[in-house]
């Protein structure tokens, strides 16, 4: 890991318009991502964790222009890429790649593995020795080159995920956005992919934006973690710090909810009450206040900002200090 920033997201907002009425006027927005900032250094893994609908996938998509950013800025190294046109974007396209959750929908069923991997090579480096490169990337992803002529449906979930990784690698990216890459896989396969991702990071110096809902997985792979709730970052810290010293009540509740695979550590814990509010109808003030056991008037009135509470530890809570002491 170096100190060079490869990706910086500043106050990113992704809103989807809500249209209603006779003329389908925009009457409001679903604030999928509502002012998120973070940065990723070269060789670092930034984990983004949160429950479904919290906007973590949308952030990933916004970075690679699959969703338009409503406001805010995205930088690749020094270059702002937020609103670049497709043509202007082209030089940066290869640098940021994505790995998807569903290994079944992420590969074109009508293309052979070779073609899938060759597509970015042919597009970005038309002069390259395609066959040799395909072999190399397949090997890198832990697949044998005999796979080349097969079609995706002949592979198991884990192998498909490897093909997806090989395809991403074929662009020679610096950043990989991994959107829940292991959540659809069986436990015994999950670990293979996690290990592969870690190995690739070591060997190629990649940076990851690792999006997942499984805290254990995120914890295992990330250097730093951001906890999201309803489109906002609630807490950002290094992995160790976050796990040892979670400050935000939501982070704490999340940790408490995760079942521990050890019957002896079974606890009579009280789970977090209530459900995530609909993003159409976000509560005022702190977005977590409806479920927060410590919520006060202040939480209902004012939106807490992310504040620095320690070395690289940010938290967005009015009461973190009190809770901490408790």
């Amino acid at each position: 890991m170096t100190d060079q920033l490869v990706l910086k997201v500043e106050d990113l907002k992704v809103y989807f318009p809500v249209k209603k009425g006779l003329l389908k006027r925009t009457v409001g927005h679903v604030k999928a991502v509502d002012g998120v900032s973070f940065e990723i250094k070269q060789g670092e893994t930034f984990g983004l964790v949160g429950e479904s609908g919290c906007g973590k996938t949308t952030i990933g998509k916004a970075i690679v222009h699959l969703e338009p950013a409503f406001a805010g800025k995205i930088y690749y190294k020094e270059q702002e890429i937020t609103n670049l046109s497709e043509a202007e974007m082209r030089p940066y396209r290869a640098t940021t790649q994505m790995i998807f959750q569903d290994p079944y929908s992420s590969l074109n069923p009508r293309m052979t593995v070779a073609n899938i991997i060759a597509e970015p090579i042919r597009f970005h480096r038309p002069d390259a020795d395609v066959t040799a490169e395909i072999t190399a990337y397949l090997e890198m992803a832990g697949l044998r080159k005999e796979c080349m002529l097969r079609y995706p449906h002949e592979f198991s979930g884990g192998q498909r995920q490897r093909i997806g990784i090989a395809r991403a690698l074929a662009c020679r990216p610096e950043i990989i956005i991994a959107d829940e890459p292991v959540s659809a896989l069986d436990v015994s396969i999950q670990s293979q992919i996690i290990n592969l991702l870690k190995r690739l990071q070591r060997e190629l110096g990649l940076s990851y934006l690792f999006i997942a809902h499984d805290l254990s997985v995120v914890k295992h792979i990330s250097d730093r973690i951001g906890v999201m709730y309803l489109g906002c970052l609630m807490e950002v810290a290094t992995t160790k710090e976050l796990y040892n010293n979670p400050l935000h009540p939501y982070t704490q509740a999340l940790f408490a909810s995760v079942p521990i695979p050890d019957p002896r550590k079974r606890s009579a814990k009280v789970p977090l009450q209530g459900e995530i509010p609909s993003p159409l109808n976000v509560p005022p003030g702190c977005k977590f206040q409806t479920r927060c056991p410590y919520a006060t008037e202040l939480c209902r009135d004012r939106v807490p900002q992310l504040e620095q509470v320690g070395d690289g530890h940010l938290v967005a809570c009015h009461h973190w200090n009190n809770l901490h002491k408790k």
């Binding site: 497709e86 998807f100 929908s105 590969l107 074109n108 293309m111 597509e119 597009f123 997806g164």
Partner: protein, 337 residues
């Protein structure tokens, strides 16, 4: 299996070689047949080479589909009949016992007999020969109209589905407007405006049902647009045109083929309906619809005149429908009905 077909083809080619006269019909048929035989040979060769090279059965989506289809008896029956009809259609000039146009005024409106196997019509033309030629024309028109139809429908549906938003709105609204004009009326009016040529007929018939076609393709491409592999392609910077071509279109192919197969039957029925109104294929060219519409006037006198074209229409529509249904089951597609 394929090899036997190929040998039969070769045999037929040699058999009919002597019959190629200056008649354009036979020449066209013969060359089409020759080309098909060549293609068959090419397929056999590639299959053989693939059989050699593949170590363990590489099964593409098509292979899987074929396996499933093969177990569906009615679909296979449909397919064989379709193949048979194609042979009849292509080889028509060689296999007709009589010139389908020649009128034998001494043999009017006959029932089946030893000379004319399926009898003659009220102008002394051989019903069997006319039915064979009519099959050729029906299949040809059906195929062309459906091709045109699916081309228009597919491209509009693809664009609407992939680009979404205003493009989608515009295309789909336009197609809905188009659909709101009752088809038969539109066909009659268009035929009146354009004249009743064969080409116009194809054009008019191919304009029907574009909406259904486009709707399904649009639905599919809308789904595919959100597929992760399309996202992946976008992230890699692949231009839209190429995404449409390489990722979306190939994955819409199954519904397109199914729809097209099912549509052929409909097209033939539509043309028959137009013939009934006097707007179909013009005399003296034999067409199933006008043969049936005409035979209907002789229902008492000579029922073979209706039975023959009726059966052929039934056979064509039924076999294409069975085959199409089988395809749909095999591909487990989202299309219903």
């Amino acid at each position: 299996m394929l090899r036997i077909v190929f040998l039969v083809n070769l045999f037929l080619l040699l058999l009919f070689a002597g019959q190629i006269t200056t008649n354009a019909d036979t020449l066209i048929s013969y060359s089409i047949f020759a080309v098909i035989t060549l293609i068959l040979a090419a397929i056999i060769l590639t299959l053989r080479r693939r059989n050699k090279t593949k170590e363990r059965g590489i099964r593409t989506g098509w292979d899987l589909m074929w396996n499933k289809l093969r177990r569906n008896k009615s679909a296979m029956a449909g397919m064989w009949v379709v193949c048979g009809l194609c042979y009849v259609a292509i080889l028509a000039p060689f296999i007709v016992p009589f010139d389908p146009y020649i009128m034998d005024w001494g043999a009017l409106s006959l029932g089946p007999e030893s000379h004319h196997w399926l009898g003659t019509d009220e102008m002394g033309r051989d019903t069997l020969s006319r039915a064979i030629y009519a099959t050729r024309i029906a299949m040809g028109i059906g195929l062309m109209a459906v091709t045109l139809n699916s081309l228009i429908g597919t491209s509009l549906g693809l664009l609407a589905g992939y680009y979404g938003g205003n493009t989608d709105n515009f295309i789909m609204r336009l197609l809905e407007f188009w659909n709101s004009i009752p088809f038969i009326l539109m066909a009659i009016a268009l035929m009146a405006a354009l004249g009743s040529g064969l080409f116009n007929l194809i054009l008019v018939v191919s304009l029907t049902g574009i909406l259904e076609f486009a709707r399904i393709i649009r639905g599919d491409s809308q789904l595919l647009r959100q597929a992760d592999y399309v996202n992946a392609a976008k992230v890699m910077g692949i231009p839209d045109r190429q995404i449409l071509k390489r990722h979306i279109l190939p994955n819409c192919l199954a519904p397109i083929i199914i729809m097209a197969t099912l549509r052929i039957g409909e097209t033939i029925l539509t043309i028959a309906g137009l013939s009934f109104l006097g707007l179909g294929i013009q005399a003296p060219m034999p067409s199933l619809g006008s043969m049936l519409a005409n035979g209907q006037q002789f229902l008492y006198e000579n029922i073979t005149m209706s039975i023959v074209p009726g059966t052929v229409i039934l056979l064509i529509v039924l076999s294409f429908n069975l085959f199409g249904d089988g395809l749909r089951d095999a591909l487990d597609s989202r299309i219903t009905q």
